[in-house]
């Protein structure tokens, strides 16, 4: 089973939803209504499921908005600053995140998959 399939299974189990409702681009909080308690369980399950250390702040992009503020304060390029903080995200994904920021929490299933695949191969 590939990483996406396994993540989908874990998320479906935790949120008590059908796997078919979960796509790579599905937003965890905006679309699926995940709450902080669910993310707590998700971190534990991902950790157990993939045998890698899950850093909650990173995988769930918890400090995203703070990083953007920091970049602004330091007069740095936001895109480059985020790429430093989140090395597991592709440049195109970061660009997309910056585009959809206004709509609410940006965390998507694909971000979890990117995190896991990046740190599994490291």
């Amino acid at each position: 089973m590939n990483i996406f399939e396994r993540v989908k299974q874990i998320v479906a189990d935790i949120l008590d939803i059908e796997e078919e409702e979960i796509l790579s681009q599905t937003y965890l909080i905006r679309d699926l209504g995940a709450e902080s308690i669910d993310l707590l369980e998700l971190a534990v399950s991902l950790n157990a499921g993939f045998q890698i250390e899950i850093k909650d702040d990173d995988i769930f992009l918890r400090k995203l908005r703070r990083y953007l503020e920091e970049a602004k304060e330091k007069h740095l390029d936001q895109q480059a600053y985020l790429a430093d903080q989140y090395p597991f995200l592709s440049a195109s994904r970061i660009a997309e995140i910056l585009r959809v920021l206004e709509g609410g929490p940006v965390l998507a299933i694909e971000d979890l998959v990117s995190y896991i695949s990046y740190y599994q191969n490291k």
Binding site: I14, D16, I37, E41
Partner: protein, 403 residues
């Protein structure tokens, strides 16, 4: 004038079914769910087959925090609230009183501990919620939108009867107009069976499982654990009448006490249990001779049945009421027994039916009126008794509803 408290709805999940029809049919056909399971080495148990809490809750992510007993609480509460939800908007003011038991399922929850440590990765982040006693109430309140006065009661096998008693008192005394009350429990897990096996309280045997468990028998030799749950909608009579709710019965009185005697054994004479019963009768403004039916705690342990028979004989010296033991049909439901047995007692009264005490051949107490055969019988006032580990006693008087 005293506020009268009535039961307008009930929901129950038992090994004999979840509807009046199923339960009465099981009585008539003498069908019970006792069985042996490989994991329990000769311990007779009475499980609820194919129980799945999702059937009752639908999608619910917090389901992961329900232990099996708490799952019975939530399921029964949802069933009890069905009719209520449709017909009034006062749920947010309603109270919630739950009798729950401990989660003893330690081997499934934690796995094996090797050299003082174990693999923590399979534990949920909030695994503790599966052990907190109020998780059931918390989830019931979220699902049903109940926000009023509440309590979770953990007084061992007396807990759910006490929860009903507490709800009744809050309504009678004007703190609430309506409340949901009951309980659920299961000790059917390797850890649960281990706990009672070590305490030497369990019936161990072989042969036809339906013929082994008897209570109030000279040869009784321990209890058979069961599982399940029941909840009731309780309301002030005026509140029920205003919304034209169908009334099932009336809660007339409640009493509880502590033996202060032993951690597990009852005080042998039942002096303090008697105090609880007399208090319930007094609160109901009734004399012992008014009671038609006693739903005994009747566990089938040597000490309980002896104490309870003596207590019944003493209290009802003028006129011995019928005595039934529903545990001989469904097993001992631990914290849930009082609520589930209250539900079944109300069904029996409604159907003018008295179930026999199963497998009772040689009564240990010939001087009380133990029901030996199924038969039709009008009964109007019943006393339900629960006596738990730790010397927890409670007693509830209910009346079949008559306009």
């Amino acid at each position: 004038m005293k506020t009268r408290v009535v039961i307008t709805s009930m929901g129950f999940v038992t090994s004999m079914g979840t509807t009046e029809h199923e339960i009465m049919n099981r009585f008539q056909t003498d069908t019970v769910g006792f069985r042996f399971e490989d994991d329990y080495q000769g311990v007779l148990v009475c499980p609820v087959p194919d129980f799945d809490v999702r059937q009752y809750t639908g999608r619910l992510k917090n389901r992961r925090y329900l232990n099996r007993g708490a799952g019975f609480c939530v399921s029964a509460a949802i069933m009890a609230a069905e009719e209520w939800k449709r017909s009034n908007r006062l749920l947010s003011h309603a109270g919630l009183f739950s009798g729950t038991g401990p989660n003893f399922d330690i081997s499934e929850e934690f796995g094996e501990i090797i050299r003082g440590d174990r693999d923590h990765s399979s534990l949920q982040a909030l695994w503790m919620l599966r052990f907190l006693p109020n998780t059931a109430s918390s989830i019931i309140s979220e699902i049903l939108g109940i926000h009023g006065e509440n309590a979770t009661i953990n007084t061992a096998c007396s807990a759910s009867l006490q929860a009903i008693g507490e709800a009744y008192r809050r309504i009678k005394d004007g703190y609430l107009e309506t409340a949901l009350a009951g309980g659920g429990d299961s000790r059917l897990s390797k850890g649960g069976i281990l706990a009672y096996r070590k305490a030497k309280a369990l019936l161990i045997g072989h042969g036809d499982p339906s013929t082994l468990y008897s209570t109030f028998d000279e040869k009784r030799d321990g209890f058979a654990p069961g599982e399940g749950g029941a909840y009731f909608v309780l309301e002030a009579l005026s509140h029920a009448e205003k919304r034209n709710a169908p009334i099932i019965g009336e809660v007339c009185g409640f009493g509880c006490s502590l033996d202060g005697w032993s951690m597990t054994a009852p005080e042998p004479e039942g002096i303090w249990g008697e105090k609880a019963v007399l208090h319930a009768l007094k609160e109901a403004d009734l004399q012992p001779m008014d009671i038609d039916l006693v739903t005994s705690h009747g566990t089938g342990t040597l000490l309980n049945d002896q104490m309870e028979a003596a207590l019944i004989h003493r209290i009802f010296s003028e006129k011995q009421p019928f005595v039934i033991s529903l545990k001989s049909w469904i097993g001992h439901l631990a914290a849930a027994c009082g609520a589930v047995e209250t539900a079944i007692t109300l069904l029996c009264m409604k159907n003018s039916f008295l179930p026999k005490i199963r497998n009772l051949k040689k009564p240990c107490a010939p001087d009380i009126n133990l029901v030996l055969e199924n038969h039709e019988e009008q009964t109007n006032l019943a006393l339900i008794q629960s006596f738990g580990f730790g010397g927890q006693n409670s007693a509830l008087v209910v009346r079949k509803w008559k306009k």
